[in-house]
Each structure stands twice: as C-alpha cells, then as structure tokens.
C-alpha cells in the first residue's frame, strides 16, 4: 500500500523560543520538509515613526535606542548623522573617534550575541552563549561607564556626544581590546571546528549572491554570500577612511559562512579599535549646537554600516522643531524578507538555525 502523505500547516511563533522575539512563520510542510514559508511580522510594532513626528529631533534619540536594542550606539549614530547632514553640522574630531570606538564595540558585542544565540538554536543550550556573554559584559561595562546605561545608551547628540568619556575610560577600553584577540581564539577553538556546528550549518540555508542582490541584503549576511559591500568602504563616512582594516567576504552563502563572517568581523573591529585608541585626539566632544534644533526645510538620508547591515535614517524637515517625516531603513527588516528562499526544502529543525543566522531583532523589524 502506498504511503499516504498530506501537507500540514504549522504556525511557528509568535511565542517560540527560537524566534528571537515575537515573530511568526507560517510553515507548510510535507513530512518534515518545508514546501512554503510565510513570515508574519508586526507583533512588536510601536509606531515609532509616527511617534517621532510628534517629538523634537533630540527627543527621538531614545526611540532609536529601542529599534535594535542590542546595538543602540550604532542607531544613535545613524540618526544624529542624519540630523547633522540636514543642518550641516560638522562634529569635532574627538567626537568622531569616540563614535567609531563605540560603533566597533557595538559590532563586537552584537556579533557575540548573534553567534551565541546561533549555538543556542543548535541545541547547545547556553554553554557557548555564556562564553560569548563574557566578552559582551566587558563591553557593556564600558558603555555603562560612558553613557550611564548598558543597553539603551542614548549617548550621541547632533554635533557630538552627550558628555565626554570619564577619566580612565580609554585605558580600560585598551585593556578590553587587548584581551579580545585571545578571547576570540578561545571561542573559535570551542566552536569553529565543532563537528555539530559544521554538520548542521555547512551547506544549510544557502543564499545565492544574485538572490541576495535582488533582495538588497547587506551586512554580514550579504558578505557571507559574496557581496563585497560595506558602507564603511562603499561610501566612507566619519573617520573610517583613516583606518586599515579588511572586509571579510566568503562565497558559500550558507549558515556556516554567516557565522564565520561575524567571527572575522570581530577581529577586524579589534584592529580598528587598536588604531582608533592609538590616534584619538584631545579636544571638544561636541560642536556648538543650539539647544532647540530647527533644521532648514529639506531632507536627508544617511546610512552607516550597523552590525547587522545598512542602517539608514531618512528625515524630512519643514523648518519646524519636529521632523515632518522620520523613516528608518532597518537592515534586518530587509534581510529577513528573503527567509522563504533560504528555508524551502529544508527541515523544520533547520528553520531555527537559519533564522538564527539571519540575526533578526524584532524591535527593528517591526519598529
């Protein structure tokens, strides 16, 4: 007698431990094999773009902390850069260096979270994660010392920073940065050649370069698929053109490569930090900026290479104290849209891993 099969629809989420927040995937399966997947988002939609229209430019900076809540420093920077472009403000050099330092520290701790949770999704419950958190904690301590907050930093302002670094911060940062290469070596010893990681990730969830290009995928995910695109190189901003660093690119586009690219980016961030900490000048931490901002009518879009890809802010001003339009281009919203292409044909257990390697933060996807 032939085996009778039928398609089954399963809702994965919105409350599912591996969806990294509140995300739902409607999965159609034949047996364990996925034939269709439709991502459903919006569960964390807070109307941030509408809220920002009713606030002044400065009042919206804390809202950016809550987009991708792992990388608030980068979000702050992308947003204040957009205001600076709108108003033609030039931040002093010391502020730019501190911003680069904060952004690279953010990249390192974001990739640590991403790698740690990927291992969690693979079933290595919280042991590798805690190794990753060890490095992240040291960075969060630095954030707390500088801004008063570990995660929602709210540290940058148009024209510079909210306050200068406290005494001894740079020495402490140097210590952490010097400690990091050995720490990443240790992580890699535990994970990179690990047989389970390799077997479950290599060749799984392949994103081909032409598909990635069509979707507009950026960040480590795009670079794992061979798209050599990094905003720090493609359209250099701030003082990045002064630093010597590489942009890691791999060609397989599978889950394993996405892991590898993130680990390599941590090492490159260490390189940038070493140079920035060596060269950081004395001087003002902020330019002279009026207390109440009224940018001239016009619009500005700026983007930075956030840890997860291209993060852009589009601001339209009508000359008033509030923005007329305030739009975020979040990297993971765009990266997530290709999930169906990554998962069809794989088993449901692989969806968890593939989703982990996309590295989504729903605060930013849903806004």
């Amino acid at each position: 007698m032939p085996l009778k099969t039928q398609t089954i629809t399963v809702n994965m989420g919105p409350q599912h431990p591996s969806t990294h927040g509140v995300f739902r995937a409607v999965i159609k399966m034949e047996g364990e094999r996925i034939v269709d997947l439709e991502p459903v988002i919006g569960y964390l939609h807070r109307g941030i773009e509408k809220l920002a229209e009713g606030r002044t430019y400065i009042q919206s900076i804390p809202l950016t902390d809550r987009l991708d809540y792992i990388t608030s420093m980068s979000n702050n920077w992308a947003y204040v850069r957009s205001i600076e472009r709108l108003m033609g403000i030039e931040p002093p050099e010391r502020a730019e260096y501190i911003r680069v330092i904060m952004a690279e520290l953010t990249r390192m701790q974001s990739h640590l979270i991403s790698v740690g949770f990927l291992l969690n999704d693979l079933g290595a419950f919280f042991t590798p994660m805690l190794y990753c958190l060890e490095g992240r904690e040291k960075i969060l301590d630095l954030f707390e010392a500088a801004s008063g907050s570990r995660m929602t930093c709210n540290y940058m302002r148009p024209g510079g920073l909210r306050q200068d670094l406290p005494d001894g911060w740079l020495d402490q940062c140097r210590k952490v940065v010097d400690w990091f290469p050995g720490y990443v070596d240790e992580l890699e010893q535990l994970m990179t050649e690990n047989e389970i990681l390799v077997m479950r990730c290599r060749g799984v969830g392949v994103l081909r370069p032409e598909v990635a290009r069509s979707y507009g995928v950026t960040g480590p995910m795009g670079r794992a698929s061979g798209l050599n695109y990094d905003v720090r190189r493609a359209e250099p901003y701030s003082v990045y053109s002064r630093f010597d660093f590489q942009v890691p690119v791999t060609s397989n586009g599978d889950t394993y490569d996405r892991y590898l690219v993130r680990i390599r980016e941590i090492r490159q961030s260490v390189r940038i930090l070493q140079q920035a900490l060596r060269d950081i000048p004395e001087g003002d931490y902020t330019a002279k900026v009026p207390k109440a901002l009224r940018p001239p009518a016009g619009e500005a879009y700026t983007r930075i290479e956030a840890p997860k890809g291209e993060l852009g802010f589009y601001l339209v001003s009508d000359g008033g104290p509030n923005p007329y339009r305030w739009h975020v281009r979040p990297p993971t919203f765009v990266n997530l849209s290709c999930l169906k292409d990554l998962t069809v044909g794989w088993k449901i257990a692989d969806v968890v891993v593939i989703l982990g390697s996309v590295d989504i933060i729903l605060g930013e996807v849903d806004r």
């Binding site: 509408k50 290009r213 979707y215 806004r367």
Partner: protein, 172 residues
C-alpha cells in the same frame, strides 16, 4: 558632477519618452519621474548604470501630493545614491510595483501601502505588514487621527479562521 551628467544623458537616451525633472540643490542626485516611466528608468539604472541595489523605499505625505522615494545604490561600485521620486495625487495614489525588478521591493512596498495607503500595481501580494488586516486607516498620513472613542474591540484584529480541516490528520 560630470558623472551625474553622464548618467542623466544615458537615462535620457535610453528612455527618450520619459520626462523627468532633476531637483536642483538636493543633497543627492534626485530625479522626479512620472509613475508610468518609473519601471523603464529603474530597469535602465539597474542593468546599464549598475545601480543594482535598491536600498530604501519610503513615502512622504506632502501637503499637495504623496511622494514615494526610492534610493538606489551600486553593489559593485559603491558611491553615492540616485534618488527617484514619484509624485502621486492625493486621491487614489497608485504607482507601479518594482517587485519585478527587485524582490526586496516586496516588503518595503507593503510597508508603504500599510502606513501611507499607496497602492502598488503589479505587486504579487499587497497586504498590510506591520499592522493587521482590518486596521482602520493609514497611520503615517497627516490626516490620520486616532479616535479616542474607538473601543478596544474595534481595534483588535478579527480572529483568524480555525485551521483548515485538511490540516487535521485524516483517518485511514
């Protein structure tokens, strides 16, 4: 600047029937095009001018018209963007979808539809994305008001249909 002029000349030569306006004094090279020429111009920019990266789609509710804004970059060459703007009338705004050129346009166009109520013709699955089906109005429009007397029941999404019968395991 010379590169910008070359690019404009190329677009003019490739899509001769399209009239577009270059916005003077804007920070990035900005073209205002008519909706009917949008697909031709974008397809030329993607294939001939290597502007193959559709980074952002968004919309602005201006006093006289709706504006849909596209930012195109180049994966291969990097560098500054080309900005395409389409201006649409206030009543029944419609613009062709770019999903046939970039699959990444799918979600961003759905977001513009959801938040601003602009219809993208030719979109394969145009439905709300950040709010739910049945949500009243389009929140980012300037005339959107949240009615205070709206009851919670009116705002809540209608519950989905129970899973189809086919989903239950059939008895042999």
């Amino acid at each position: 600047m010379a590169e910008e002029q070359d690019l404009l000349a190329e677009v003019r030569a490739a899509v001769p029937e399209a009239e577009f306006e270059v916005v003077e004094g804007s920070r990035d090279l900005t073209l205002v095009v008519k909706p009917e020429h949008l697909l031709d111009i974008c397809s030329h920019l993607r294939d001939q001018a290597h502007m193959d990266y559709l980074s952002m789609i968004t919309s602005v509710d201006r006093p006289e018209y709706f504006e849909v804004v596209y930012y195109l970059y180049s994966y291969r060459h990097g560098g500054p963007p080309v900005v395409i703007k389409v201006r649409l009338p206030k009543d029944a705004p419609q613009v062709p979808s770019l999903t046939s050129l970039w699959r990444g346009a799918d979600w961003q166009e759905r977001e513009v539809y959801d938040m601003m109520g602009i219809t993208f013709t030719g979109h394969p699955d145009l439905k709300r994305i950040l709010t739910w089906e049945g949500f009243p109005g389009h929140p980012l429009r300037k005339d959107y008001t949240y009615a205070v007397e709206t009851t919670t029941e009116e705002l809540l999404p209608t519950l989905p249909e129970p899973l189809e019968a086919s989903n239950r395991l059939e008895k042999r």
